[in-house]
C-alpha cells in the first residue's frame, strides 16, 4: 500500500514537472512547480526521510516559490512577448532530442535496468495476486490476520525521527562544519547581492 502511494507521488512529480516546462504562462508554471515540490516532499516523507521532506515544504514551497510568484506578478510581463518566444519552440527541438538521447544513453550504460525493477509494475502485479487471494481463496488470507495490530508505525516514529534530527545535527556541526561556514557566507552573499543589484540609485 505504502509502495503504491510512493509510486503515485513519483508519477505526480514527473507529470507536473512536464507540465512546468510546457506551460506558457509563468504563473501556471510556478503552480506546477509547487506541485512538483509537494509531491517530492510527500515521496521523501513516505520513504522515511521526514525531516528533509518537511523542510522541503517550508523552504521551497514557503519561500522560493513565493519569491518566484512575487517577481512574476509584480514585473507586469506582457503575455504576448512570452507567447512569441514560445513560437520559437521548434527551433530547439533537435538539440533537445540530441541531449536527451545522450543523457539516456549515458544513464543506461552506467545503470543496469530491468522491467521488474520498476516498482509500480511489480507492485501492480503483487496487488492483482493479493486481490485474487482475497476474493477467491480464503485459506491464505487467514495467515495475514496476525499483522493487524493498532498501527504499530505510530509508536516507533516518535523515537526514530528524532534521532534522525540528532544525527543530522551531529554530522552538520562536526565534519560538515567547514561547508556550513561556506554555505553561510553564500547565504549572506545571496542576501546582500539582490539588494545591491535591484537598488535604484536616485541621482
Amino acid at each position: 500500500m505504502k509502495n503504491l502511494f510512493i509510486d503515485i507521488l513519483a508519477f505526480g512529480a514527473l507529470l507536473s514537472s512536464v507540465l512546468v516546462i510546457t506551460s506558457k504562462n509563468p504563473v501556471i508554471a510556478v503552480i506546477f512547480l509547487i506541485s512538483v515540490f509537494i509531491n517530492a516532499a510527500g515521496y521523501l516523507i513516505l520513504l522515511g526521510i521526514g525531516f528533509i521532506g518537511i523542510s522541503y515544504i517550508i523552504l521551497y514551497v514557503g519561500a522560493i516559490a513565493v519569491l518566484f510568484l512575487f517577481v512574476i506578478m509584480l514585473l507586469n510581463i506582457r503575455l504576448s512577448d512570452l507567447l512569441e518566444a514560445g513560437s520559437q519552440y521548434t527551433k530547439n527541438i533537435p538539440l533537445a532530442i540530441a541531449i536527451g538521447l545522450l543523457f539516456i544513453y549515458e544513464i543506461f550504460t552506467i545503470i543496469p535496468f530491468r522491467i521488474h525493477d520498476v516498482s509500480l509494475i511489480s507492485s501492480l502485479l503483487n496487488l492483482i495476486t493479493n486481490l485474487n487471494e482475497l476474493f477467491l481463496t480464503s485459506d491464505i488470507s487467514t495467515l495475514n490476520v496476525v499483522y493487524n495490530t493498532i498501527n504499530p508505525i505510530l509508536a516507533d516514529s516518535t523515537f526514530t525521527n528524532f534521532t534522525q534530527i540528532q544525527a543530522l545535527g551531529q554530522s552538520l556541526y562536526t565534519f560538515g562544519a567547514f561547508w556550513l561556514i561556506i554555505t553561510s557566507v553564500i547565504l549572506l552573499l545571496a542576501m546582500v547581492a539582490p539588494i545591491f543589484i535591484t537598488h535604484k540609485s536616485n541621482k
Partner: protein, 92 residues
C-alpha cells in the same frame, strides 16, 4: 532513483526548449537541483547513511541563494530592457 534521473532529464529539456524565456529557465534549474538532491537523498538512504541528508541541506540552501540571485538579475534586466525575452536579434 529512476524518479530523480527522469526529473533531471525533464529539467535539462526544459532548460533547452525554453531558451527565450528566462523565468522558465530559472525554474528548470530549480527542478534540476531538486532532482540532484533527491538522488543524493535516496541513494544515501538506501545505504542507510545519514551523510546524504547533511549534503541535501547544503544543496537546498545553495538552491535558495541561486534562485534569489537569478531573480534579482531578472528584475535588473527588466528595468534595463523593459521586457524579459532573450531576443538577441532584435535591438530594443
Amino acid at each position: 532513483m529512476n524518479l530523480s534521473l527522469l526529473l533531471f532529464l525533464i529539467g535539462i529539456l526544459g532548460f533547452i526548449l525554453n531558451r527565450k524565456n528566462i523565468i522558465l529557465m530559472i525554474i528548470a534549474i530549480e527542478i534540476m537541483l531538486l532532482a540532484v538532491t533527491l538522488l543524493v537523498l535516496i541513494s544515501s538512504f538506501s545505504f542507510d547513511d545519514g551523510l546524504g541528508q547533511t549534503f541535501s541541506i547544503f544543496i537546498i540552501s545553495i538552491a535558495g541563494a541561486e534562485s534569489v540571485i537569478g531573480l534579482s538579475i531578472l528584475v535588473a534586466f527588466y528595468r534595463l530592457r523593459g521586457n524579459i525575452s532573450l531576443n538577441t536579434t532584435t535591438t530594443s
